[in-house]
Each structure stands twice: as C-alpha cells, then as structure tokens.
Symmetry: C3
Amino acid sequence: MSTNIYDRLKELNIVLPPVPPQNVASYVMSVQTGNVVFVSGHIAKKDGAVWVGKLGDNITTEEGKAAARSIGIDLINTLHAHTGDLNKITRIVKLTGLVNSTQTFTEHHLVINGCSNLLNEVFGKVGVHARAAFGVAQIPLGSCVEIEMVVEVAASN
Amino acid sequence: MSTNIYDRLKELNIVLPPVPPQNVASYVMSVQTGNVVFVSGHIAKKDGAVWVGKLGDNITTEEGKAAARSIGIDLINTLHAHTGDLNKITRIVKLTGLVNSTQTFTEHHLVINGCSNLLNEVFGKVGVHARAAFGVAQIPLGSCVEIEMVVEVAASN
Amino acid sequence: MSTNIYDRLKELNIVLPPVPPQNVASYVMSVQTGNVVFVSGHIAKKDGAVWVGKLGDNITTEEGKAAARSIGIDLINTLHAHTGDLNKITRIVKLTGLVNSTQTFTEHHLVINGCSNLLNEVFGKVGVHARAAFGVAQIPLGSCVEIEMVVEVAASN
C-alpha cells in the first residue's frame, strides 16, 4: 500500500472532482483551530444533484452505503482544498454520520461504513477514527446521508 | 464595522440579556480545554419561555430562522459569561444546528442561517464557521431549534 | 469523597465490565488528538444485548435514564482502556446524548441526566461537562440511547 495519499487514490481509481466553492452563504466547509480541522456536514450528491432519499423507505442500505462512500470522496476533496496536501493529515479523529431514516430503520452503522471503509482504504492507519452514527428526521434538501469530521493535521512550522 | 465586539453589538441594536445561571442540574453551559470552548446545546426562548414548535408542521421557516437568531444571542451571552470579554474570541470554529422537524421538512439550512448570519454580523471574519444542520425527531421541552458551538479563544497568559 | 477514581467506583459499587474490543469493523472506540480524546457513540446494553426501545413509545423516561447511566459506565470503561489509568482524566469536556424518541417526547434532558449524574458522582468537579441532548429518529440496532463524549487527559510526558 502506497504511503503517498494521491498515489493511493489513483490505486483505488478515485478521482477527486474539481474543488467546489469552500465558502457557502454564511459558513465555510472547514475551519482549523490549532492542528485540528472541523469539517462541515457534507450532504450526498449523485451526478451533481442532491442524492435524495430516506433509509427504511425509498432507498436501500446498500444505496445508502454508496452515498456515504461518495460523501467520503467529497470530504477528502474538502481536506485537499484545506490542507493543499493530503499527506499533511496525521489522523482522521472523529466522524459523525447522520442517516435520513424512518423511525424503524436500524442499520445506520452499515450505511456509514461506506464512508468509514473508504477512509481506511485511502489513509490506512491514519484513517482509523472514532465515530457516531444515528438516524435523523431529515437532512437539508432531502439528502439521504450527511457526514461531518474532525481531522488532525501536521503542525505547520 | 467596529472591531470591538461590544460596540458592534450596539451598532446592531443587540442587547445581551442578564447572564442566566451557567450551571444547570448536572452540567454547565460551557467547558474549555486548551483554548477551545465547547458550548452546550442552547434551546430557543421567546419572552422568557421555551420557543415550542416543529418545522414543517406548526412553525414556518422564517419563524425558525428568527428562533435560531435568538439562540445566537444567547450563545454570545454564554461566551460573554465564559470569557469575561468577547474580544478574546479568535474564531467561531463550528456550529451544530438541530432543527425540530417533521420527516418531510428540508429547509434546515435556511433555519440555521438565522444564527450563522448573526455570528457573521457580530464577529466579522472571526465569526465565519464550519457547520452542520439537520432535522431531529424532537428537542428537550419541545423547542423548535437547538444549537451548540465550538469556539477558539485567545490563549490566556 | 475519594480522589482516586478506582476507589470512588468501589464506593459507588460500580464494577467495570471486562473491556470489550476497542476496534470495531472500520472504526475504533476512541481517538486522541493532543490531550483531547474523542469517544465514539456508545449504544445502551442490558444483560449483554442491545437495550432496544423508543422513548415516548415503549420505554419510560426512568428506564431511559437507567440506560443512559449504563452507557456512562461503558464510556468510563472505554476511557479506562484508552488511558490505562482513569486518574489521568483532567476533564469530561462535552457529552452528546442522543435519545431514540418519538416526534412528541420532550424529556431527553431527563434521560441523559442518567449519564451526566453518574459522571458527576464518579469524577466530581472533573466530571462537570458541557452537553447537548436531543431526540433522534432511530439509533443503530434499535438502541434507546446513544452517547458520545469529548474528554481531556493529562499531557503525557
């Protein structure tokens, strides 16, 4: 396994999309304090549009897992924009995975594994994180999943 | 735009209410580690009572946005109590906005803008934060919105 | 009140269970950055099985509070595994309490007090934390409560 993250992304056939605007209306996609980066909640997208759906209703656990994986790529892209070099990331610290779910769906952990597994594949030991996953009533614009992260980066000198 | 936060609050005609008790039953309104302050979830209040309602049901997006703005003032008040001087705040790092919403309401981001916009107005560039917003099944006492924050303050010497 | 946390646990007749595996599928139970530990969301268990239920439906506030207290013991156990010595904990910084609740249940704060009170009993002033509590649509495996924490530990030299 390659230790350069960009080589690793190539090995996994992951192409980072063009970096989207990092300033949204009244907030930004990431803020750093000390060497800890708080990454905003990212919603799922498919073919450029919001990936709409509610787990337990009109979207399967496997589809939700794929949506979570696609969010993972967007989160990595935000970290690429933030750090300028993904190799500066020293630890994915914490991931919070929100699943747009009915009051009876109980496989949120399997859905969020789509993102957790990706982070492990791309970052190796650095990608092993603490996590919370749960079901929410709804997500902005009807997205099926939303994920936020806390990430540690190398101290800049 | 004024750089003294208290002058800026005056320019915006924002009057901080008397500081409420910072110790609630078994927890407190804020805890600092290093120079990062974790601020407890604040629920919405109107005329001293809990601002009850569920977005998508009995309260509009505009009303929810006003509730989020009022929480923003309470959050600033808690930071005033915590720091003793709001000018010591060096960055609003992260805001998590919970909207008491039906399973079909999808404008949580517009609701939470009420708080995000206020933080931008009051703190300028220091107020630009990372954010997550989503809909929850319910909030303590039926409040329509609940918001928590992570804030960076100047190192005390 | 004892200042040694293990003596204090004995005084409270709290027996930490055998430490469960700290590596779950694609994530871990805790990750430290600097001297701050992010603890993964812990679900409620009873007699070794998931403590299933939805507040406002088939489980009472008192039962939910007991479930939150039992999660508190599991969280302390995770911190014991993480630190090797609970006396190294210098502050419980923040607790996020997720209650599996109907759209009408509004006593999430009373449920989560089960965990907050325990942390106060065990850690004294060190256990006084910031907090957010709210109701979610569902929790993995149907658990009635899920709690995550941010904890400060003494700098290792």
